[in-house]
Symmetry: C2
Subunit: 298 residues, 2 copies
């Protein structure tokens, strides 16, 4: 799932955001004496490694698109990245997807150990909520915590991973596949956009528009992820390829074929772009990002 981060070329303004995000993530992972050295080191390893920070960039872009000051959204940008990073560290565990390579480096349980990988995830999740609760304007902190908690919970992120592991793909249709990815990937895309918009003071109409953008973008992201698993190079993608196919997991190319999967991506990207058209020029970076994602496997 980290492939976009290593395959999208950023614009100049994107680079500034990326630097700001990386610096903020670095700051968010400094701990007092209570945190054992090895635990803190492993948390930083998992979060601060290579990555283009797609979800946190979406937070900042959504904030600007809705007329807000992106600087105020930095804690939320970090929080969604911490949740994403924790979920990868846990997904990679031997009892889960059993992956040894992530973003081109050994996964956390390989580099450290399994117990540390579990605890790293646990502590990163807590830190995400600590950031929202303590570093956002008080009038938004509670709502942002609630939105992130829901997106990260049993009905969304964790539920999607659980359904994925339990072989719920057997005999699945495209609609089933979409429903699982809506949880496993889509919910975190949606909450990224929504947190940025909320922090810009967006009303319900704007929230609806960025939510629809995120819903389409998240699904397109998953389809291109599946396409990269078939056609990408391991070096570019940064993780072992062909694994999903080897495991007998259902993927979009397998269900629809490569060409129809690409057409689906095109449709989804058009839908995403249309969703934020009413926002005008401030949504330009969101449109540009969607267009880049559209071509990341070609």
């Amino acid at each position: 799932m980290a492939t976009l981060e290593s395959s999208v070329t950023l614009q100049a303004d994107g680079q500034t955001d990326l630097d700001a995000i990386d610096q903020a993530l670095d700051r968010s992972l400094r701990f007092g004496a209570g945190c054992p050295e090895r635990l803190g080191e492993a948390m930083r390893y998992v979060v601060l490694g290579p990555g283009k920070r797609l979800r946190p960039r979406l937070v900042l872009m959504a904030c600007r698109a809705c007329g807000g000051d992106a600087a105020t959204a930095l804690p939320a940008a970090c929080a969604v990245e911490l949740i994403h990073a924790y979920s990868l560290a846990h997904d990679d565990l031997p009892a889960m997807d059993d992956d040894d390579l992530r973003r081109g480096r050994p996964t956390c349980h390989v580099q450290f150990d399994e117990a540390t990988a579990v605890l790293v995830g646990d502590a990163l999740q807590a830190r995400a909520f600590e950031l929202l609760a303590t570093q956002l304007p008080a009038e938004h902190a509670g709502r942002c915590c609630g939105e992130l908690a829901r997106a990260a919970g049993a009905e969304k992120l964790v539920g999607g991973q659980s359904a994925d592991l339990s072989g719920a793909f057997d005999g699945a249709t495209v609609d089933d596949l979409r429903a699982i990815h809506a949880r496993k990937t889509g919910a975190m895309f949606i909450v990224s956009l929504r947190l940025g918009a909320i922090l810009a003071g967006a009303g319900e109409e704007r929230l609806y528009q960025v939510t629809e953008y995120a819903r389409a973008l998240g699904l397109a992201f998953q389809v291109t992820d599946d396409l990269l698993d078939v056609s990408g190079s391991q070096q570019a993608v940064g993780k072992r390829l062909g694994k999903d196919a080897d495991r007998g997991k259902l993927t979009y190319p397998k269900l629809l074929g490569v060409d129809a999967s690409r057409r689906l991506v095109d449709e989804l990207i058009d839908a995403a772009v249309a969703a934020v058209a009413p926002l005008g020029d401030t949504a330009g970076p969101l449109v540009d990002l969607a267009r880049k994602l559209q071509n990341r496997d070609r």
Copy 2:
């Protein structure tokens, strides 16, 4: 760590609280279609099993002790129990403490599987923050999320477990042991009391008093836990005994001897009782609880 819950006899009013907590926990673990059935079942198994709900009861007692309406603190009571339950499910994993018995029943990874036990913990942590963020009065939600996140994070709960696992007890003194337990056990006791007090609108002085009570009570709890590991019956305690000693873990009885450990408990309980003396009669249940804890291994 669940031993007090099965060894303290509750008062009549405590029974009412316990019923209210159990009902609220049950309600807090109902999910929509997004949550896979097995995941939801496992979350309920971990949380709704036997247990005397010490931490949530402390939330309600602290709220009343500070003049608040305990009913408004029920979401916070549930949240601390969900964090506690998640930490047990993860601590019990093969890569961690590798326990197969908890509260007299198979642990989550034995009853379900390892991947489910990891995901159960992840989803319970998210649910805890969702409860605080969405069910507490808006003026307190953010602060409560921040306090719980800090207590559950890398410098406290998770940090303590990490230090415990890494053998930081080797050559440890009583002060070292106390520092580790302050994180692994103490922080969640403290936040339980603080959330209850915050929701009662307590000022800094009251917060300080309940924090000092919780600090002493949490440590006394850990010492009596160690004493039960030496002298308790497995049936009463609900988990395998002698494990800490078998693993070469440092315990209070080993460092101080049984008699001196009991004297330490007596001192700590006196300190806890003294800390809440300024609150007067409303702190009666906190005093009663401390006195029961004092004798739970005798």
